[in-house]
């Protein structure tokens, strides 16, 4: 019942997976599943509520875009998960770790029971019997649970490198071999429970780390979906034919209706219209275009039908360039070395050297090789990286959960580490600092009757300004007037008759500095309704709070200088205007080279490369798919207040991680001399190991109250 496929489905089905972060309740599950299952061609849809994903088995004919559209129609915002195999691999890794964890836990507990009686004084035949039973349980369990470490250690050694798993694998193997030898010769000390406990704690750390990685769901690209699936192509003899984006070639002529998205880059052949290029430039106001001007794939034709001659299609469009830019920009992030790995690089050689020196030291001091070996094994066990292995993952999982409750999703495994290092913040304007919903500024200039007419007219159009005006008026509780013969004239506005007077909501005759419409009724003078981007709530407080945290801000926007000025002034930020995606990337790289760790906050497709290139990045939940995927963290809701909260939590997390490291080091400083001196019996080792791990876990749990 849990499988995504219906049993007995004979037809070969394709599987697609979407992330749907918006589902919050039990009702959403059935709404999505029922809605999708009701569609023809969908075999089965199954929601995974924990990972906020839906997997759909469907006929291969149904494209992912159609399915995405279907989910959108149900009222949810989906993101296609391109690489299903990678997601499945991660689930498999997770399961292998959990199995190994269960086996080592089971074995450790049973062996521990036997060991307790040995420590409490059992000797002679009883001790020998218990050692043998322990060996019978421990050896298969170590072989099974140790596989993740052996594999990783082996592959590191084969490539002439060393990693954290090498000392672990060597330590566990030597401990098990020594204990077996002790068992056979009837010796006093067997360290089976230590070896198993070591594996158990380390696997717990690994499993938490894998859980974290599974949550972040990387490798999602939905760039292609931003461009139109195809276009109506006009042949030389006038016949028209629908062609997919991939089949478009330069020289073809596309016919574009108003409201249609461009499938390829091109030059306008005939017609005038306005283009919404916000996807590429982030500029919110529509740009007028006429014959001979360039237009780009992914932009939206708003006003009137136009014909466009294709100049670049498929992989050659500016949109595809952004995709490639993002790929290269993201590479620096994958080179980031996480703090745990940095610790491991120091740790391995030190531990090996210590154990080896102990062995040599005791040999010189005249102890037999047997005793020297036993003591150096104790050193290996006592320096076990349990606390180190738990220090980072426990803190991060706890912090991630705490942040999720505050509406901040951590999307990259090293995001918190990088966020804690940020010392500068760069904002995009449109959609990030502002809500990207232009709001009418001077509605109070209209009397009640004019408002009713304006609402009636605005309702008939789907132009962005008209819908914004409609929302604002409806929020004021205005009722629409009765209007006759309402019609929308492309590129001009909406026209109708009210009480036998011509009325219209149209482009103003005089040039305006901000987007605006003119309300005209009969012979009365025009009333110009101006629109302005409204700042997100908490923007000013956020900028101050960030500055206080030591992150001075600036604006980097694709918008024009005039559009940015009011926002920059209100927030007292410096700004760089008219930045194209590659400019943004270059600006961030410049800052990075200057030694700044930049936190980029942006939302649009045009911010994608910048979000990928920045040291760490955040996007609002309203961001485009590309923006959300490229960002390391996503915050939900309109308010910008989560930004400083995230920075504070990230810094606290790293402070806790460093404390954990310090605790682990203090513990080693105290315990290692004892081990070297030969005072560490299996009992002492077991107690010390559990104690240090518990302290680290307890310390990390303090993050639960993160704010």
């Amino acid at each position: 019942m849990n499988g995504p496929f219906q049993p007995g489905t004979a037809i070969v089905a394709a599987e697609s997976r979407f992330a749907v972060p918006g589902m919050r309740c039990a009702g959403c599950i059935s709404k999505i599943e029922h809605g999708l299952n009701a569609r023809t061609g969908v075999h089965a849809a199954r929601v995974n509520f924990t990972s906020k994903q839906v997997s759909i088995a469907h006929d291969p004919e149904i494209s992912d875009a159609d399915l995405g559209e279907a989910i959108r129609a149900l009222g949810f915002e989906p993101t296609l998960i391109a690489d299903i195999d990678a997601a499945k691999d991660e689930t498999d890794t997770m399961r292998e770790l959990l199995r190994a964890l269960a086996v080592s836990g089971f074995a450790a507990m049973n062996v521990m029971l036997l060991s307790v009686s040995v420590w409490s004084g059992a000797d002679g035949a009883t001790r020998e019997l218990f050692h043998w039973i322990s060996a019978l349980i421990a050896l298969p369990a170590i072989t099974y649970s140790g596989r993740p470490f052996y594999r990783s250690a082996w592959s590191a050694l084969r490539h002439g490198r060393t990693n954290m798993d090498v000392p672990i694998a060597i330590g566990v193997t030597i401990t098990a071999a020594m204990s077996l030898h002790e068992t056979i010769v009837g010796g006093e000390h067997a360290y089976f429970e230590s070896a198993l406990m070591l594996l158990f704690f380390l696997l717990a750390g690994r499993a938490l780390d894998a859980m974290m990685r599974r949550k972040v769901g990387d490798g999602v690209t939905a760039l292609a979906r931003q461009s139109a699936p195809g276009a109506l192509v006009i042949d030389s003899d006038g016949a028209s034919q629908w062609r997919k984006s991939a089949e478009l070639e330069s020289g073809m002529v596309m016919q574009l209706a108003a409201g249609e998205r461009l499938a390829a880059d091109g030059v306008v052949r005939s017609g005038t219209s306005a283009i919404d290029a916000s996807l590429l430039t982030g500029e919110s106001a529509p740009q007028p275009v006429a014959a001979g001007e360039k237009v780009f794939a992914g932009t939206l034709n708003i006003d009137a039908p136009i014909t466009v001659e294709v100049t670049a299609a498929a992989d050659e469009t500016a949109l595809a360039d952004i995709g490639r830019l993002m790929e290269t920009a993201g590479q620096s992030k994958s080179r980031y070395v996480r703090i745990a790995d940095r610790g491991a690089r120091l740790y391995a050689p030190v531990v090996h050297a210590l154990a080896a020196l102990t062995f040599v030291g005791w040999m010189i001091a005249g102890a037999g090789w047997h005793q020297a070996m036993l003591i150096s094994v104790a050193v290996l066990i006592i320096t076990c990286p349990c606390a180190l292995g738990l220090a980072v993952p426990v803190a991060q999982v706890v912090a991630t959960d705490a942040l999720m409750k505050l509406g901040i999703l951590v999307k990259h495994e090293s995001a918190l580490e990088r966020l804690a290092e940020a010392d500068r913040v760069v904002f995009d304007k449109t959609g990030t600092l502002t809500l990207d919903r232009p709001a009418p500024d001077n509605l109070d200039d209209l009397n009640a009757d004019q408002k009713r007419v304006a609402l009636a007219l605005a309702r008939t159009s789907r132009h962005p300004l008209a819908s914004s005006l409609r929302r604002a008026l409806e929020n004021q509780g205005v009722r629409a007037a009765d209007i006759d013969a309402a019609e929308e004239r492309a590129g001009q506005g909406v026209f109708g008759r009210y009480r036998d007077q011509p009325v219209s909501l149209a482009r103003p005759d005089t040039a305006q500095s901000t987007p605006a419409v003119a309300l005209r009724a009969g012979d009365a003078p025009d009333i110009v309704i101006r629109f302005r981007d409204s700042l997100r709530p908490g923007a000013a407080e956020m900028v101050d709070a960030m500055a206080e945290l030591g992150l001075p801000g600036s604006i980097l926007s694709g918008d024009t200088a005039e559009a940015i000025r009011p926002v920059a002034k209100e927030l007292r930020l410096t700004a760089q205007a008219s930045a194209r995606p590659d400019d943004k990337c270059a600006a961030l790289e410049r800052l990075g080279r200057a030694g700044d760790h930049v936190l980029m906050v942006g939302d649009g497709l045009n911010d994608g490369p910048a979000l990928a290139a920045a040291h760490v990045s955040m996007a609002p939940g309203s961001a485009s798919d590309v923006g959300q995927n490229a960002a390391d963290l996503v915050f939900l809701g309109d308010s910008l207040a989560p930004l400083p909260v995230a920075v504070r939590v990230a810094r606290r997390t790293m402070a806790i991680v460093r404390q954990n490291f310090a605790l682990a080091i203090i513990y080693n400083v105290l315990a290692v001399p004892l081990a070297i001196a030969g005072f560490v019996t299996p009992l002492v080792a077991a107690v010390a190991m559990s104690l240090s791990s518990l302290i680290v876990i307890g310390n990390s749990l303090r993050l639960r109250s993160a704010r």
Binding site: A44, N48, T50, L98, A102
Partner: protein, 49 residues
Amino acid sequence: MTGLAILIPVAIGLGLAGLAAFFWALSDDQFDDPDGAAARILTDEDDEA
């Protein structure tokens, strides 16, 4: 000592049974969607695919 001959196998056997149950649950996707399972009991439908 005879007690041990019974008790130890029993103890280990019980542990193994728990381990087997966990392995089964894991391979049966029981831990795939814990939050979803909690939410699904609230919806009343029997035509589950």
